[in-house]
């Protein structure tokens, strides 16, 4: 085995912080190398050093690539050497076509004039390699996130990639798209392309990785070899958090009370195509002290359902009724939904949850300005003490509540969004992917908060694409598919297989929109 990449003794400091300290990373030729660690462990910084975002001279240590020492001056430089990084947030231009995106910055042109037939032909080849059956002329905005991810990879292939770096590639993909992506990596491996995979999803890592490097607090903890013997998820977690995490889900004794919140016969039409019925006759309920999960694949309509209930923030021509404590409530605007006692924690905290360039304090008070003001005049000391209370209670790691949220890690940002909604004093919380993109330790903290809320007698509705999480946290799980609720399972009886089976059965017979819901008791 020869190493395609060796990073030796990499140290990178920011003012006041040692981001990386003497980190070593060795990637063998033709392997899939996983890089794991909690948020803030230094994974992204290490990859920025490798790809030249932090150019040579701004760090100390050596980078050896294909047998020679490299001193990259920028991304273009590292790409020329064959190192391509695909970021978590995709860098595609939505209103350009697939072909235009693939060759953006690398146009197939002579004297500045683009040779469109060459572009189309090469794009077809590349799309075939990544297993994407779309026309090269299709606009990026018209295809789903999973396919966009494949376009990114095709773009990398067009640059004669030798080492592919994927930063959380499956964070926003559903299970089948994730599988397709991972299989593609295995395919590349056969052709001799090495990859570095950064992921929080440990099951994926154990599926494809040949070796795993664990980072913690800016240092290399260990490199595990998966070829000789499989490495268990618990083993990886132990390396990441530095201690064995006995249980990934905190224990809780559910004390389920009377009926709290009900939605009946909920129908929603598509936001843009108003004649397309997107949510079909959904009814659901949650009791006091209960955590109810909504499972389903990406695109099943879970977020659309939740947002349509939360003050019609999604969809058109919405019909149906909502009840709180048996009384019908008005959820026709977001303000009214909030005032009625609903809260919705978005799946996309950066775009829909936070004012990033504002402080923790201002973000926490935003949904309940009335709670920190007399009349229309804000009481800043009251606001400060509220913010400090939630900072302590949710353990938001920050220098003070006056820190801008943009500087916080994903887990701490999520806690700020949660604080905002806790301060609005809701009865029912709808949590949409509350642990997306945050690390194992922070996830545990979020679960603990969710449990506390249920223990206080609130009703929690939790949407998640991670089935183990739903099974570990919820008391009852609804399964959603193509706009319908197709099953309702008590968590005690539920399993990943049962949920998948309910989804698949729903797929085979979607004709009857009013299919009686299957009860598995």
């Amino acid at each position: 085995m020869t190493a395609i990449l060796e990073m030796r003794g990499i140290t990178k400091t920011f003012p006041g912080v040692n981001a990386l300290e003497n980190v070593n990373l060795r990637v063998e030729s033709g392997e899939i190398h996983a890089l794991v660690g909690e948020n803030g462990a230094g994974k992204s910084t290490l990859m920025k050093v490798l790809s030249g975002v932090y150019p040579h001279g701004s760090y100390s240590g050596e980078i050896w690539f294909q047998g020679e020492e490299r001193r990259f001056t920028g991304i273009a430089d590292s790409e020329k050497a064959g190192i391509v990084i695909i970021h978590q947030e995709l860098a595609l231009v939505p209103l350009l076509s697939i072909a235009e995106n693939i060759f953006l910055g690398n146009e197939q042109a002579k004297y500045g004039v683009i040779d469109w037939s060459a572009v189309t032909l090469r794009t077809r080849d590349l799309l075939r390699m990544v297993g994407l059956s779309e026309s090269p002329a299709t606009l990026i905005t018209d295809i789903g996130v999973g396919k966009q991810q494949l376009v990114e990879i095709a773009k990398a292939l067009s640059k004669e990639v030798k080492l592919l770096i994927l930063d959380e590639p499956t964070a926003s993909l559903n299970e089948s798209d994730s599988d397709a992506l991972l299989n593609l990596l295995l395919e590349f491996k056969k052709r001799g392309i090495s990859s570095i995979l950064i992921s929080h999803k440990l099951n994926e890592i154990s599926k494809v990785a040949d070796s795993i490097t664990v980072l913690r607090d800016g240092c290399t903890v260990e490199t595990l070899d998966c070829r000789s013997e499989p490495v268990s998820e618990d083993r990886i977690i132990r390396g990441m958090v530095g201690r064995p995490l006995a249980d990934r889900y905190p224990k809780r004794d559910p004390k389920i009370g009377e009926m709290l919140f009900e939605v009946k016969d909920w129908n929603v039409h598509h936001q843009i195509h108003a004649d397309r019925l997107q949510i079909k006759n959904v009814s659901m309920n949650v009791r006091r002290g209960e955590i109810v999960g909504i499972a389903g694949l990406m695109g099943a309509g879970r977020t659309e359902f939740a947002m349509s209930v939360f003050g019609r923030s999604y969809g058109r021509r919405i019909t149906g009724k909502a009840f709180l404590n048996g009384k019908e409530i008005d959820v026709s605007t977001i303000r009214r939904a909030v005032d009625s006692g609903l809260a919705y924690v978005t799946e996309d905290r950066k775009h829909y949850g936070l004012v990033l360039n504002d402080t923790i304090m201002h973000n926490i008070s935003l949904a309940n300005l009335g709670g920190i003001s007399r009349g229309t005049v804000l009481d800043d000391m009251e606001e400060l003490s509220v913010a400090n209370t939630y900072r302590r209670r949710l353990n938001i790691r920050s220098s003070s509540v006056l820190q801008q949220v943009v500087n916080l890690s994903g887990g701490n940002q999520q806690k700020v969004v949660l604080s905002k909604w806790l301060f609005s004093k809701p009865e029912v919380l709808i949590l949409d992917e509350p642990t997306r993109g945050i690390d194992v330790g922070a996830k545990y903290e979020i679960y603990t908060i969710i449990n506390q809320l249920a223990d206080e007698g609130k009703g929690v509705i939790m949407i998640s694409s991670e089935m183990p999480e739903l099974l570990g946290v919820c008391d009852r799980i609804y399964v959603m598919n193509e706009g319908c609720f197709v099953a309702e399972l008590p968590a005690a009886d539920a399993s990943q297989e049962k949920i998948m089976r309910a989804i698949m059965r729903g797929r085979e017979a979607p004709a009857d929109e009013q299919a009686p819901r299957e009860k598995i008791a």
Binding site: R335, A337, Y344, H351, Y352
Partner: protein, 406 residues
């Protein structure tokens, strides 16, 4: 990766060394320091003419309408929009006032009220399309700019209309009455006693408020301004205000328009920093989707910022007309550029969510002092434009530069 600098814990006991504090807040006070530097420069270059009582009075009269509009423009910019029509609205309202008062002989009080209301309507008419139909404000107000320029031409039939009733002119050219009577200082100069007293009282009240605020913050353990800095800052500001007040008092006293302007500046500082509507405007500019999902009626708040802009533009129109004592078709041309420049020089962000009232006021004064100073030393109008353009670019560049460095 957490790279943020760690704030000193607010212990209330002085916290960090003075030097570190000043370094960290240099950007915050950078614009104020630039204004002072520019004033000293021109005071020197004009051999002391800049701060002569007469010129100082003129400086305030010349810039009052720009500053008043900058208050409204700041809110519009913070909300993530822009208003290009304000210059035309100034012209249109001036024309309307002239037609009502001069041609129809309507009393100046109902005229003023109607003009302000019409300004609000103009703001509403434009804000309606921006807020509820999501048409970019750049386009809507560009249309408004053409429409109101045309309408003021039509109203005036292409001619200048004036003069205004003397009571109305007082809005711009009047001074507050001296209830104590003038006091002769040394035979030749008399001093406006009321103005002197106001010039002493206002800074003292402000110091009192600041001190109370500081005590309150200390009680909650969040005060991080070193005591020495607090004292020095307040002392300097108070002395400067008192000195300027005294200078004005030795001419004719405080202009009426200064009182209007100062009241509005304090009002808008309060609104932006301490009220729910202010907070909502910042949230909308920072992230409209998040603000909306937090239950804020983003459309309505945006609509209000445009109405507010319209009213302030109308007020500026009245002041400008009163100052010229005539309404001309050329009134207000390119005012919007000065107003917008003032906001950006003062640190507002073109992408919304960031900006301060005090910043916009300082920005307006930087432009105003440069106009005035360059005119006195005889720089031609051509080169004045060039220099002002470069100053705008330099100010925004410095802001971006320090933001990236921080």
């Amino acid at each position: 990766m957490s790279t943020e600098t760690v704030l000193a814990p607010g212990s209330g006991g002085g916290g960090e060394p003075l030097r570190v504090f000043i370094k960290r807040h240099l950007r915050e006070y950078g614009m104020l320091l630039s204004l002072i530097a520019i004033m000293i420069f021109f005071q020197f270059m004009t051999n002391g003419t800049l701060l002569k009582p007469l010129n100082l009075t003129n400086l305030i009269l010349q810039n009052s309408y720009i500053i008043i509009m900058a208050l409204g423009m700041l809110l519009v910019i913070v909300a993530g929009h822009i208003d290009l029509s304000v210059g035309s609205v100034v012209g249109f309202i001036g024309a309307l006032a002239a037609v009502m008062m001069v041609q129809f002989k309507i009393h100046y009080i109902p005229t003023t009220i109607i003009c302000l209301a019409v300004g609000g309507l103009i703001g509403a008419a434009q804000g309606y399309w921006v807020a509820f139909f999501k048409i970019p404000s750049f386009i809507v107000t560009l249309a408004g700019m053409l429409v109101f320029k045309g309408l003021s031409l039509a109203l005036l039939a292409g001619q200048s209309v004036g003069p205004f009733p003397p009571e109305f002119q007082k809005l711009s050219s009047g001074f507050i009455p001296d209830i104590f009577g003038g006091m002769a200082l040394d035979g030749s100069t008399t001093v406006h006693v009321t103005s002197v007293l106001l010039g002493i009282a206002v800074p003292l009240i402000l110091i009192g408020l600041n001190y109370r605020n500081r005590l309150n913050r200390q009680k909650h353990g969040v005060e991080e301004e070193p005591l020495l800095f607090f004292v020095a800052k307040n002392a300097v500001i108070a002395l400067v205000v008192m000195y300027l007040g005294f200078l004005l008092a030795s001419y004719k006293g405080l202009p009426n328009v200064l009182i209007v302007m100062a009241t509005l500046i304090m009002l808008y500082t309060f609104v932006t920093m301490r009220t729910t509507i202010g907070r909502r405007i910042y949230a909308i500019g920072g992230n409209e989707k998040a603000a909306k999902l937090s239950g804020i009626n983003t459309e309505r708040v945006t609509f209000y910022t445009f109405i507010n802009m319209g009213v302030l533009a109308a007020l500026a129109g009245l002041i400008f007309a009163a100052r010229l004592n005539t309404a001309t078709p050329k009134a207000g041309v390119s005012f919007e550029l000065d107003v917008i420049a003032a906001c950006f020089i003062g640190g507002a962000s073109a992408s919304g969510g960031v900006g301060r009232v005090t910043g916009a006021v300082i920005g307006a004064f930087i432009m105003g002092v440069m106009n005035n100073g360059m005119s006195i030393i005889g720089v031609g109008i051509d080169w004045q434009q060039v220099i002002k353009g470069l100053v705008l670019l330099a100010a925004v560049f410095l802001d971006v530069y320090y933001k990236n460095k921080a």
